[in-house]
């Protein structure tokens, strides 16, 4: 019996499948946002900076259903039992990543309301957040079997 997490019926009916589908949205949006912001910094193009901001905004919003479905998957699949090992690391890193994504969005949001340019240190925060997101996704891939031999 094989489960396809991208099948609409699976997404709607399976109690555990939504998280592994939705997680791709904040990862892709945030990664694209970091790239756009880096290019905006290098080229001084306003359009790239705008694209980066809206990528960060939607990435931050999309972390909400991802966190919700992740916690629901924990409740449905494991009935909320105490986590340890890779599962616990994944949960902790997921919260850290979420906070960092929202922090990046907040820095950009605040910068848009002020006349002075965005602080350069934001790029360091963005790269650190990207590393956290990557590490979380890597562990998630192991847990789901995507990064493993299965």
């Amino acid at each position: 019996m094989s489960v396809n997490p991208f099948d609409p019926k699976t997404v709607l009916l399976a109690k555990h499948a939504q998280h592994v589908v939705l997680i791709h949205f904040p990862i892709a949006l945030f990664a694209a946002g970091v790239l756009f912001d880096f290019l905006a910094q290098q080229t001084q193009r306003r359009g790239l900076a705008e694209a980066a901001y809206f990528n960060f905004l939607v990435a931050a919003i999309s972390t909400v259903p991802v966190l919700a479905t992740g916690i629901l998957a924990w409740q449905f699949a494991l009935e909320g039992q105490k986590l340890k090992g890779t599962l616990l690391e994944h949960l902790v890193l997921a919260f850290v990543s979420t906070v960092m994504i929202w922090l990046v969005w907040w820095v950009h949001s605040r910068g848009r309301r002020r006349p002075e340019p965005l602080p350069n240190y934001r790029l360091a925060i963005e790269f650190l957040a990207f590393a956290m997101v990557g590490l979380t996704a890597h562990l998630g891939g192991f847990l789901s079997g995507v990064n493993g031999p299965g």
Binding site: M1, G148, G150
Partner: protein, 118 residues
């Protein structure tokens, strides 16, 4: 006198042989104790091995996680359910009734197996 000594030695020897025979046949002897049946399933490489296990009634099946990531062993019919098993952790269940018991890993539902109890 000699005849009396022979008689005593004979009686003692008989008593010793009888004691040895009785102790060998006692219920506490390990030779005749029935060992409970056991069987093992290895959880490795995102699969249960063997995927289908056939055992007699009363067998205790032990699942051992040999994978690097956590797995669970959950009966489809809710007969048994393990906690999350990290690497080298075990879960055992004794099958008291005949039947077919399908199970899966709740973290990776594509991992399935079954125990056939006869």
């Amino acid at each position: 006198m000699i005849r009396k000594t022979v008689l005593i030695v004979g009686l003692l020897a008989t008593a010793m042989v009888a004691t040895l025979l009785l102790s060998a046949g006692s219920p506490g002897s390990s030779a005749k104790t029935a060992q409970p049946a056991t069987a093992e399933v290895k959880v490795d490489n995102f699969s249960f091995g063997p995927p289908t296990l056939t055992v007699p009634v009363g067998t205790t099946v032990t699942w051992t996680n040999r994978d690097d990531i956590p797995h669970t062993v959950v009966s489809t019919d809710k007969v048994f359910k393990s906690k999350v098993l990290d690497t080298d952790e075990k879960f055992s269940f004794t099958f008291a009734k005949a039947g077919t018991y399908p199970y899966f890993c709740s973290i990776h539902p594509k991992m399935t197996g079954s125990v056939v109890v006869q």
